[in-house]
């Protein structure tokens, strides 16, 4: 009985830690959604593109780890810059649907560019942190929790705190929140939309790189990362598209439930249900609570 409980705990904790990465990627979506009211379908491609470039810098050019990471982050800022200039600015006055379609196209471009530049084979990424249980926790709490999961959770938490501070206490953060509320009014008082767009796309790019590193370290840097990142979609449906706390909680919920479902219900379906179980959960949310758990309801004074 105790063993079963411990095992359940293990599954949940592992799921929550893995969920922090979903939270992080979902956060990238929320940023872009807040600034341009568009679901950025190219986020998955950005994950793949950024981490493949990171691996490429290290493995093909023998650039040291830290420098390669910085280069890849800078590359994502450049991608953000190009996206703003070449895709978003020409579509500034187009409908949200048009921008949505443009992000799908952008996704294909990024996938193609990444593979053209770095090849199609699966690459190994070693972060120096093994994907095995931490002995100290295993000894004292009798829980087998992977060091990589814990590291990923910590990194995600730090990034989330950093982004929160950025939005709450900096000038550009205030600008972003203003644009998110009313882009027209923001531009009428001189907040340049292009700066805000550049900020959110760069932030989303760096977030994609971090998430890509964590997932790449576990499963190899490969094309499947694109679909993995799209799990942010059910995360956002559950958490609410425009809510940063929603993205965080939604990610944790998806992370934990998909692992629990995989372990306890998966065998009845022949396993591997964690790929689609989150989407089923999302459908239930769409039916019964479409604004998500934390979705900002439109505030109307009465």
């Amino acid at each position: 009985m105790v063993d079963e409980l411990l095992f359940f705990m293990e599954v949940v904790v592992g799921g929550l830690l893995a969920g922090t990465m979903y939270s992080l990627v979902a956060l990238g979506f929320v940023l872009i959604f807040k600034a341009s009211a568009t679901f950025n379908f190219s986020q998955g491609a950005m994950v793949f593109f950024s981490v493949l470039a990171f691996c490429g810098f290290m493995q093909d050019f023998n650039i040291p780890f830290v420098l390669a990471f910085i280069l890849a982050a800078l590359l994502m800022v450049v991608v953000g810059l190009c996206t703003e200039r070449l895709v978003l600015r020409p579509l500034m006055n187009a409908s949200e649907d048009t921008v949505l379609m443009a992000t799908i196209g952008l996704g294909y471009v990024l996938e193609g560019l990444a593979q053209a530049a770095w090849g199609v084979e699966v690459r190994r990424l070693d972060l120096g942190i093994g994907d095995f249980p931490v002995p100290w926790i295993a000894d004292n709490l009798k829980l087998f929790i992977s060091a990589l999961d814990i590291f990923a959770g910590l990194v995600a938490a730090l990034m989330i705190i950093g982004l929160f501070l950025l939005f709450k206490y900096t000038k550009i953060g205030l600008g972003l929140r203003a644009v998110a509320d009313d882009a027209g009014a923001a531009s009428s008082i001189g907040i340049p939309l292009k700066h805000i767009m550049l900020l959110v796309w760069s932030a989303a790019g760096v977030v994609a790189l971090v998430a890509g590193c964590m997932w790449g370290a576990r499963a190899g840097v490969q094309f499947a990362l694109v679909d993995l990142a799209l799990k942010a979609l059910p995360v956002l449906i559950i958490g609410g598209f425009s809510s940063i706390p929603g993205a965080i909680v939604g990610g944790l919920i998806i992370g934990a439930t998909e692992k629990v479902l995989e372990v306890y219900i998966g065998p009845f379906f022949g396993g591997a249900i964690e790929g689609w179980a989150p989407y089923v959960l999302a459908i239930f949310f769409l039916l019964y609570r479409p604004e998500g758990l934390f979705g900002e309801k439109i505030i109307r004074r009465v």
Binding site: M92, N93, K171, L174, G175, R177, A178, A180, D181, D182, G184, A185, A186, S187, S188, I189, G190, I191, P192, E296, I299, R300, R301
Partner: protein, 271 residues
């Protein structure tokens, strides 16, 4: 009035189209002398907002374009400017319907107006205190979420936010829309104060003809995208046509536009 350098804004015969098709302004010319308040009056759809947006260059975001004529602000043509560049040049529009940032606090809303200026935290606080002397109500509510403040307070937030950009000229689009008479007076008092104490020139679009003219130096009346009448505020207030059609007062008693037309056709028939 004729000396061009005395005008901060000089609109000459502009024509505005939306989507390259819909003609919103046919021919609008108007001048705003430095340091004065000019009222732009007219009914819904007359072209007041379009005129203001043409000046602030916000038209582009609504697929509108000035297709003819010219607009000069502070001696320079505003052809190629973006809204944020116009703010940098000291021209700020307060949009119709207040448009506060609902999820931000009152104070955050006001501070956001200083975005285009490079100010230190100390400078911002100093400016903020100065702004609060005009908007005493807002100081009391500085920590509230803007969406939960009253309509009058939201209008004050919108004007205070614009003032944080340190404008030379304000474009106010229907600042009293949907407000109780007492608040209308309060808003206009603030506008007048900003005009006299801060030297801000003001172009004001209003439907509230009476109050607007009483607080302006000069007025323009536009209908279906054309200037129909212009003159000093005093002369417009005394004009019989304005009295009848826009103020609803005449020697024969209260009247609306339809009554005037009906009466005219009746007199024609009896003749």
């Amino acid at each position: 009035m004729n000396n061009s350098s005395a005008n901060i804004l000089d609109i000459k015969n502009i024509e505005v189209r939306y989507d390259d098709v819909i003609l919103a302004l046919h021919d609008v010319s108007l001048k705003v002398p430095k340091g004065k308040v000019v009222a732009l009056l007219g009914a819904n759809g007359a072209g007041k907002s379009t005129t203001l947006k043409a000046v602030s260059t916000m038209l582009a975001s609504e697929r509108g374009k000035v297709t003819n004529g010219s607009i000069e602000y502070d001696g320079n043509s505003i052809n190629k400017q973006t809204p944020s560049q116009m703010v940098g040049l000291g021209m700020v529009q307060v949009l119709e319907g207040r448009r506060c940032f609902g999820h931000l606090t009152v104070e955050e809303n006001i501070i956001s107006g200083a975005y285009s200026r490079k100010l230190s935290k100390g400078d911002i606080n100093q400016e903020l205190e100065k702004i609060y002397t005009y908007f005493i109500r807002l100081k009391e509510r500085r920590k509230s979420q803007a969406a939960f403040t009253s309509g009058g307070e939201q209008q004050m937030i919108a004007v205070a936010r614009a003032m944080m950009a340190k404008p030379k000229m304000l474009l106010l689009d229907e600042p009293t829309m949907g407000l109780a008479p007492q608040l209308v007076a309060e808003i206009f008092n603030i506008v007048k104060e900003l005009n006299t104490k801060e030297g801000v020139s003001i172009l004001l679009a209003e439907q509230n003809t009476n109050v607007a003219l009483k607080n302006s130096d000069y007025g323009y009346i536009i209908e279906t995208g054309r200037v129909m009448l212009d003159g000093t505020a005093q002369s417009l207030l005394n004009d019989d046509k304005v009295k009848e059609l826009y103020l609803g007062i005449s020697k024969k008693g209260r009247k609306n536009f339809r009554d005037v037309l009906k009466e005219e056709s009746l007199t024609k028939r009896s003749n």
